[in-house]
């Protein structure tokens, strides 16, 4: 407590509270997600993205249902 790192994390935590408020207020339907404090609440969005969101997307072919001949269906 009192260190530069503490102040940085505390500020990020406060920012996360504002973010939770935004995420929760913009969805008014029931059965919707809830957002709040968890183990990532003292990380900036950039830190979170850099550490955890590291999957590389790949383009894959569109799925097409296996063909069934009309004779088979009959």
């Amino acid at each position: 407590q009192g260190s530069e790192e503490f102040h940085k994390r505390y500020k990020l935590f406060q920012e996360s509270l504002r973010r939770h408020h935004f995420l929760s207020s913009s969805s008014n339907a029931t059965n919707t997600a809830t957002y709040g404090i968890n183990q990532f609440s003292d990380l900036s969005s950039e830190e979170f993205r850099t550490i955890y969101l590291r999957a590389l997307p790949v383009h894959v072919p569109k799925y097409s249902k296996p063909y069934k001949s009309s004779r088979k269906r009959l």
Binding site: S16, R19, H20, L23, S26, S27, A29, T30, N31, T32, A33, T34, Y35, G36, I37, N38, Q39, F40, S41, L43, S45, F48, R49, I51, Y52, L53, R54, A55, L56, P57, V58, H59, V60, P61, K62, Y63, K65
Partner: protein, 214 residues
């Protein structure tokens, strides 16, 4: 399709793991799928080595990122035997690839398929039931703050950045949803799981879907 289906009910899904500060989600998602399909073949449910995939997949970047499809392609081409997690434990950092003698126990895949199921989530649910859990890539930016409930907003279908594993679906309520296993530990979300609305490609969940065969 049934109203509800979850591979966890068949006791063929390993516990949620924690990738810590390693960006190896792509490895966690495919290894989770292989573990379940291996158990579905009548074998015991085993935890296989995620670290082996992180260290050894040649076209990926270990804890700095990777692709589910390129890792599956490598596993399939070389018929790599995945050893048990206890033998090659997770270290949360990229290490040197360890090789094991051919005689040692390991699980290799016979094949895999990867498709874009957008606008075809009914077919995707059928694939889940026929083939086992599905490794998918989603936009998880808003998941930083997720606590529970069904995600229906606040993510994009064009910015995939995180790999997870779909283990089931539930269509019994007003909002049908996918049941998704994450790798951020059990304290995150719903005991480590997240629910994503079905039928609208929320977070791009249907854009890149992979299933393995053993």
């Amino acid at each position: 399709l049934p109203a509800k289906f979850d591979w966890r009910d068949k006791k063929v899904v390993t516990p949620v793991r924690n990738q810590l500060s390693c960006g190896g989600c792509w490895a966690f998602s495919i290894v989770g799928g292989i573990e379940t399909v291996y158990a579905l073949k009548g074998h015991p449910l085993l935890e296989l080595s995620v670290q082996q995939v992180i260290d050894c997949s040649p076209r990926d970047y270990g804890c700095n990122g990777g692709s589910t499809v390129s890792a599956l392609s490598w596993l399939n081409e070389i018929k790599v035997k995945l050893v048990q997690d206890s033998e090659y434990p997770f270290k949360a950092e990229t290490g040197t690839c360890h090789h094991f003698p051919n005689s040692s126990f390991g699980v290799s895949i016979k094949g895999y398929e990867a498709h874009d199921f957008s606008a075809q989530e009914e077919e995707m649910a059928q694939k889940l039931m026929d083939s086992g859990p599905l490794a998918v890539i989603v936009d998880a930016v808003s998941w930083q703050d997720y606590q529970g409930g069904i995600i229906q907003h606040h993510c994009s279908s064009s910015e995939a950045n995180h790999a997870v594993l779909i283990t089931g679906f539930d269509r019994t309520g007003d909002v049908p949803y996918w049941i998704v296993k994450n790798s951020w530990g059990t304290t995150w979300g719903l005991d480590g799981y997240v629910h994503i609305k079905m039928g609208a490609n929320i977070c791009g969940i249907a854009d890149s879907v992979a299933a393995v065969f053993l």
